[in-house]
């Protein structure tokens, strides 16, 4: 096939990008080469619209072993142990084929983690669907949940948490973000940087098929009417093969044969081989006839661009081929020596004894386009002034029922019961709490993980929203007694070519950066997903933040369920009554405008660290952060989980009851303490200048809000748990 500008444009390249390729090569590329350029230079692989801004993220810290730039980030959890983790999106494929799209998303992120030598020990996911009224929502949700479970369960990795939201802005473009944590010894981490000349390049795993060709390009294309034509690019996952691949790779990694290893993810063999060579400042030579293929007569173009799953590329030490082959044979996986490292600094491909591509690697990587896209700064919206009379005909009980049965608050048990969350025998906090917690096998340590996002806040004011998500992640870790260490981020946005969407991106990144710097909560890995939109409409800006923290003694882990009758319930952090963008304002008052709650990073840090101190001193019986739905929602969840009631004090605040109970001011937690510990707790909080107040006392069975308002916990529970089950049946 002849290559020209038109063909290049069909490959998703811009005309000027094509001219740049010809200039750099000083010739017209052939079709295989063009395919390689289109894969390497597309948004998904090159980060051409985001690179400039991602540089601003805060990525350094004492605990960071590896920041962004590798397959996944790595943090130090002491005693020679490290946690490898990352989150990644699989949005577009999941909309087209929810089961396979979600499944291969989970498979992909697990490969990123075990590529680095770590055994995956936990999965999480952040999934966002259109409004429940949308016809497609139910099937998409079912397919995605089955897909996530289908893959993760089969791999034998517990899914310990996640987040699920519904919003009409995802009607035509759902989000599926998958996160994995792996455990590795600090001195046994594997990287993707090739080194040394004439080292054998090995292909292992599944055979290469015609699936997913152009998958990476699809991830960067708008959804439009022509979607049908792009359909065959979806891949089918094979978790069984991945499980074998995991065991085989870990077996090989226990020795000293591997120089570098890289999974074949987006853009398959192309990006994996180029990345390894580029990092090592080497060339690479591949004989495509050696690549194990599933179909007959595959062309070099297809082999290079296939996104078949469950494959890895390894640079081995010379002479270790037989040893490695034995291991992969044992696990019944394909194994082939397909090439070697060279000093040409080019990627050279051979097929049927002819050289069919030869491109300098630096052109593909360093010379890839980078854009400073136009973006619009957003203004902080004006605050709403709610008149007193709009509250007067609201009944607090009705409001509470409506809020706790809201799709975005209600229990997600229907989802997480379909995920094996206990396999591996170390899950000490299941989904349903503030963070999932798993023990580090055979030690006293435990790792906590959470994934959060608040698209509504980000949409109202991206800078504040960006800060808020990081703060929420931090709080969810603190609430289980974990010291927050680092985050991973998955940035789901509309088109970077749209100034508004680009502005949302830039400012969310700024917010994330500011908060993570202040909280010493660096970003160690992540992923950008642009073009989440249907026609001209972008989704609400949705950065998902995956946070990881450490509990040094797992016996000190905290949970949110109320423990004992007569214990006192306190609120940490100040309630100012911020209703704008709260769930209450949006669904009860039907007010969608206004600024999100302000994030005061000083208070955030101070309150969180003080709470950790109380937990460390064994002063706390249960803890929960206050987020969506405010104080009363948080209390309800604690009552339901503990099967206890609460009698609330009359709020001393000057603001009205609704503002007090449903405001979404940040930096707050609810804690349970024994009455005899009150003095000591007060003393510590006062000393640290942490605002706190007593809100009630734990009783049996009922929530007593005031003299006139009482509701049983059983009733609240049925409101909270039934919505999703009923919706799905």
């Amino acid at each position: 096939m002849l290559v020209n500008e038109k063909v290049a444009i069909e490959h998703g390249l811009k005309a000027e990008e094509y001219r740049k390729i010809c200039d750099l090569l000083k010739r017209v590329p052939n079709i295989t080469e063009l395919g390689i350029f289109s894969a390497m230079w597309n948004e998904h692989c090159s980060y051409k619209s985001s690179r400039l801004h991602l540089k601003k993220l805060h990525t350094k810290g004492k605990k960071v072993i590896q920041g962004p730039g590798e397959n996944a980030g790595v943090i130090d959890i002491e005693d020679g142990d490290a946690i490898v983790f990352k989150i990644e999106s699989h949005n577009h494929p999941s909309f087209i084929e929810p089961y396979q799209g979600a499944a291969t998303g989970v498979g992909g992120i697990m490969r990123d983690v075990f590529t680095m030598g770590a055994r995956p020990i936990a999965n999480l996911n952040s999934i966002h669907f259109g409004s429940p009224q949308n016809k497609k929502t139910k099937n998409l949700l079912r397919g995605v949940v089955h897909g996530i479970g289908g893959y993760g369960n089969c791999m034998g990795v517990p899914t310990i948490g996640g987040q699920t939201s519904f919003d009409s802005s995802y009607n035509g473009n759902i989000l599926v973000n998958a996160m994995t944590l792996g455990l590795v010894k600090k001195n046994k981490i594997f990287y993707s940087k090739a080194a040394g000349l004439n080292k054998p390049v090995i292909y292992v795993g599944s055979k290469t098929g015609r699936d997913g060709i152009h998958g990476a390009s699809m991830a960067s294309a708008n959804f439009d009417e022509k979607i049908e034509e792009k359909k065959p690019t979806v891949q089918v996952g094979d978790p069984f093969t991945e499980k074998l691949l995991l065991e085989a790779c870990l077996e090989l990694m226990s020795g000293d044969s591997i120089i570098a290893i890289q999974d074949m993810g987006a853009a398959g063999l192309t990006s994996s081989s180029i990345e390894m060579a580029s990092k090592g400042n080497l060339g690479i030579e591949i004989n495509l006839n050696k690549v194990p293929c599933r179909e007959t007569k595959m062309t070099p173009y297809e082999i290079m661009l296939s996104e078949s799953q469950e494959r890895m590329l390894i640079v081995l030490e010379n002479g270790k081929e037989d040893l490695a082959k034995k291991i992969f044979d044992k696990w019944n996986l394909d194994f082939a020596v397909i090439g070697k490292t060279t000093n040409s600094k080019n990627i050279e491909l051979f097929f049927n004894e002819k050289q069919i591509a030869n491109i300098p690697i630096n052109i593909l990587v360093e010379k890839s386009p980078m854009y400073d896209r136009k973006w619009k700064k957003s203004k902080l919206p004006k605050k709403n002034r709610f008149k007193k009379n709009i509250f007067s005909n609201l009944k607090i009980k009705d409001v509470l029922k409506k809020i706790i049965s809201n799709p975005n608050i209600c229990s997600k048990e229907w989802i997480w019961q379909q995920y094996d969350h206990t396999v591996m025998g170390d899950t000490i906090q299941k989904p349903g709490g503030d963070s999932g917690v798993i023990r580090v096998h055979g030690t006293d340590k435990a790792v906590a993980a959470t994934v959060d996002s608040s698209a509504v806040y980000c949409w109202a004011h991206p800078l504040t929203g960006g800060k808020q998500v990081v703060a929420e992640s931090w709080r969810n870790l603190i609430s289980v007694g974990a010291t927050p260490i680092a985050i991973t981020n998955c940035l789901n946005f509309g088109s970077p070519e749209n100034e508004d969407n680009m502005g949302e991106f830039v400012e969310c990144v700024e917010g994330i950066s500011e908060a993570s710097k202040y909280l010493n909560f660096p970003v160690v890995s992540g992923n950008v997903s642009f073009y989440n939109q249907t026609k001209e409409m972008g989704i609400k800006p949705t950065p998902s933040i995956g946070g990881v923290g450490l509990i040094k003694n797992y016996k000190k882990m905290m949970t949110m369920d109320f423990k004992d009758i007569d214990n006192l319930v306190l609120i940490i952090g100040k309630t100012e009554g911020h209703l704008d963008q709260s769930l209450f304002a949006r669904i009860i008052l039907d007010e969608k405008n206004g600024p999100p709650p302000e994030v005061n990073l000083f208070n955030e840090k101070n309150n969180g660290i003080s709470l950790l101190d109380l937990i460390e001193k064994d002063l706390i019986k249960s803890a929960h952060d206050i987020s969506l739905g405010g104080i009363l929602t948080a209390l309800t969840k604690m009552c339901i989980k503990g099967n206890k009631g609460i009698k609330l004090n009359k709020p001393k605040n000057l603001i009205n009851g609704f503002s007090y109970f449903f405001a979404e001011d940040q930096g707050r937690y609810i804690i349970e303490i024994e009455p005899k510990k009150l003095k000591e707790v007060n003393k510590i909080l006062d000393k640290n200048s942490v605002h706190h107040e007593e809100i009630g006392v734990i009783i049996k069975n009922d929530m007593i809000i005031d003299e006139k308002t009482k509701v049983t916990i059983d009733e609240l529970k049925s409101y909270n748990t039934n919505w999703l089950r009923n919706f799905m049946n």
Binding site: N153, G156, N332, Q417, T422, G425, K555
Partner: protein, 227 residues
């Protein structure tokens, strides 16, 4: 006491079972599916997981693996063989215990704690237990036990039902049936009661920080019975 845990391609509770057996005093060995001989054992365990990806029918392909011939011979000679979850599915597929395990009635994978009632204590697994109702953990997609009417009658006549799903009071009503199993059956024996297949995972309940500790009671009792 010596035990062996078989690892099939796709097994994923093999390590958990190893940890549990060792914790309660077994000298456990891991055995690869491709081996032909079984090490000398007092107990052989087929662990949970997704052998061969659960493809075709759960347990069907594992039941054809090399080691299974030895496991079958071991069982036929009276040796204790226990299959948990996918292990139960393998037992069923290899004909060591009767019936089949179909897809869960509501077509969903279920991971949660359930209660089970012990039906028959006259066997090496449950002998001497002074507790009727256990809280155990299940995690499966195909645990819906099924057999023909005639088979059921035979199973009942031989007292082969090991455990039933029930509520915390030991009542075996349909509402406590998580997956549609016929008569709430959660585990069964072979005729001779030396082979036990069950869906719940006792190995996930061996520590108070986990989902519960009833698994510990089961294992402690088991090793004492074998001694």
């Amino acid at each position: 006491m010596k035990s062996s845990v078989i690892t099939f391609p796709g097994s994923n509770c093999d390590r958990d079972m190893d940890v549990a057996l060792k914790k309660f005093g077994f000298n456990n060995k891991m055995v690869w599916h491709d081996d032909i001989e079984l090490p000398k054992s007092d107990l052989v365990v087929l662990p949970g997981g997704f052998s061969y990806g659960d493809y075709l029918r759960c347990g069907s392909m594992a039941s054809k693996s090399k080691i299974m011939q030895s496991v079958i011979n071991f069982a036929k000679s009276g040796g204790l063989v226990m299959g948990i979850c996918n292990g139960f599915q393998i037992l069923v597929e290899s004909g060591l215990v009767p019936g089949v395990l179909l897809r869960n009635k509501y077509l969903e994978f279920i991971c949660k704690n359930v209660f089970v009632k012990i039906n028959n204590k006259d066997n090496p697994y449950f002998k001497n237990l002074n507790k009727e109702v256990f809280e155990l953990h299940i995690a499966h997609n195909e645990g819906n036990y099924f057999c023909t009417r005639d088979q059921l009658k035979e199973i009942e006549d031989n007292n082969q039902i090991a455990i039933y799903y029930c509520n915390d009071n030991g009542e075996t009503k349909e509402i406590s049936n998580p997956n549609g199993s016929i008569n709430n059956i959660a585990g069964i024996f072979n005729k001779e009661k030396n082979v036990l297949g069950m869906m719940p995972h006792p190995e996930r309940m061996i520590d108070q920080s986990l989902s519960g500790e009833d698994g510990s009671i089961f294992f402690k009792n088991l090793i004492n019975n074998i001694k």
